[in-house]
Amino acid sequence: MKRTIVPFGPQHPVLPEPIHLDLVLEDEKVVEAIPSFGFIHRGMEDLASKRDFNDYLYVVERICGICSYMHGMSYCEGAERIFGVEIPDRAKYLRTIWCELSRLHSHLLWLGLLADAFGFEALFMQSWRIREKILDMVEDSTGGRLISSVNLIGGVARDMDREMLAGFVAQFDKMESELRSLTKVFLKDSTVRARLFEVGALTKTDAILYGAVGPMMRASGIELDTRKLGYAAYGDIDFDIITSSGCDSLARCEVRIGEIFQSFRIIRQAVDKIPDGEIYIPVKGNPKGEATVRVEQPRGEALYYMKANGTRNLERFRVRTPTFSNIYSLLKILPGAQFADVPLLILTIDPCISCTER
């Protein structure tokens, strides 16, 4: 059959970020996808060797807007390991709460985008309406809607008092009930199912083989979550790893919705357990050493490597972002899919090109 090459992106309505794929089509069926990257490479890793490592924190936070909090936190965790300091317990709990708030807004954003991708505008709006409340909480507690700038090497810059935390938790019940009604539409509605069920299947073997991470991997039945390593205060908190054996787009949706409910559970526990005390211990000087940090971002596992050489600049800073790992899985699930499903499939890995290209 005659093959056609259709360019997809770098500008495409389905996602605002530039990803480019050359789709090789046979009729309406994708047989191969050839990616090309680097449209928004900003050289942020190289910048680490030119900026004071204390100030570079604010650059790390701007690798990506949605993943901003986790980037900043991981950078601080890495620097604290090099310094050899342990931050106060209260700061750890505060970080955990902010981590989960950022997971909540990221997953809700994804749900909205997914609904938008299969053309259900009302669902998109309702997902983002819930997300907006989460963003208000982030703004109330940190001062910024997305980019919190609240982490410091040695702790956090802002505290949350008891009333503020209780105020957040008080809103959760209503949000959860709203979310349950959204869940019914996402998982039970037959038209939505028709777009998601058995579309873009990634088997468990393939997920391992192609190194999938995050909800993408858990939707293929692999029970793995970096949070269980116990960074920040996750060691003291009880939560489930949500998995699904569906392996398809619907399973990815199901896992993310499950994780939203787990995030509410984690924040509730953290608010109950949070100890009183300091939130910041000052660290001074220019350290020497290296550190590797693994964290579970909303999109999957991210890895940070930092090497300090005793000067005010880092010698090397490296980020491997979850989307970078998931691109291989995307290239695996695209062949065989219908051309009309391509935007949706790209979306199911929850791509963050800005993170990937740094």
């Binding site: 100030d55 001062g143 009604s181 039970k188 509605d189």
Partner: protein
Amino acid sequence: MAGIFKFTKFALKNLFTKPATRAYPAVPARQAPRTRGAVQVKIDDCIFCGLCNRRCPADAISVDRAAKSWTIKRMSCVQCGNCVLNCPKKCLTMEGAYSAPDIEKRNELFRKAEAPIPAVHTLAPAPADGKAIAPDRVLVIDMTSCVLCGLCARRCPTGALNVDRAAGTWTVDRTACLQCGNCVNGCPKKSLALVPEKDHPTVETYTKNAAPQVESVQAPAAPITAQPAGTEGITVDLSTCILCGLCVRRCPTSAIAVDRKAGTWAINRQSCVVCGNCLDVCHKHSLSKTTEGIDTSGVQVYTKTAEPKAEPAPAPTAPEPSASTETTAPDTPVGNGIAINMDTCVLCGLCAKKCPTAAIAVDRAAKTWSIKREDCVLCGNCIAACPKKSLSEDEIPLLETYTK
């Protein structure tokens, strides 16, 4: 077709609910008390130190000390709040609304209103009303007590001070001086002061031998010569000294040298300015100021076991420093060492960092704290540095590693 019904029900419900969005700009945007809006400066409190300029990751702020102006590029500012966090005068804030939308990239310039400068070389007008702002102060020095150690110049954030030990001069550039007082606080001799005087030249040089050329001085001050030989110097009591080397680190003129292997403590009398900075840092109070037995001609070496000897001018008849005559055996009693309470230790590693002999090692991964007893000189610097007060000097079994 129950599935389809979910879809329709949801869409219909959505149609008849109130909008969740605001009609911005008709309705103002939501704002939290902590919202990081636009950076605001209280220009009257600003001392133009330039820290905000240096710490800004986006190079949005520029500070001109000469023009006393503070400029921000609103479009470059990324609202991280790093400047606010690092401002020593707390004159920057980030509360309130975001900066208003604009159609061009504007720089906002803030300039400090110049205080009316009182006419120079006239009698100072008496402060008629109590509300009159205190006139700017000037930095003056008492050269009779100054030892020209240079600590003030090192601590000056603007490089306004210059100390020339060879020429015996101390110079201040009053145009660069911010009157921050860092030098005054750091002076070991308390020679510096900020005084509300006015008629001082912008660049003033004080010389050690002569009185400062200030016209208000009437009687010629007695010339102060450089310290005559054999007057005053730092001496060490080697019976208590553990040769930790902290004095070496603190000496502004690098006059002290400690050799732990040879058991010697040496001081170059030519460079020593007797500022007393080493006396403050010594944990063992082994150092003292004395006028006896000081040989100013060169390097004087004190040895743990032997008597001190003057190196370049071997003068065996020189009077022995009284402190070093009672030197004792160098070894600390076996069993005396730094003890740690692992219940309170957080393995922060500060002790390891502060140890002058690198005897302490902290491994946070293995949760261990270890000490090399043969390297430890029991200076107590770790005890002073420990934030958890976990360390103490005690009689201890000679254990090497502690595990949490």
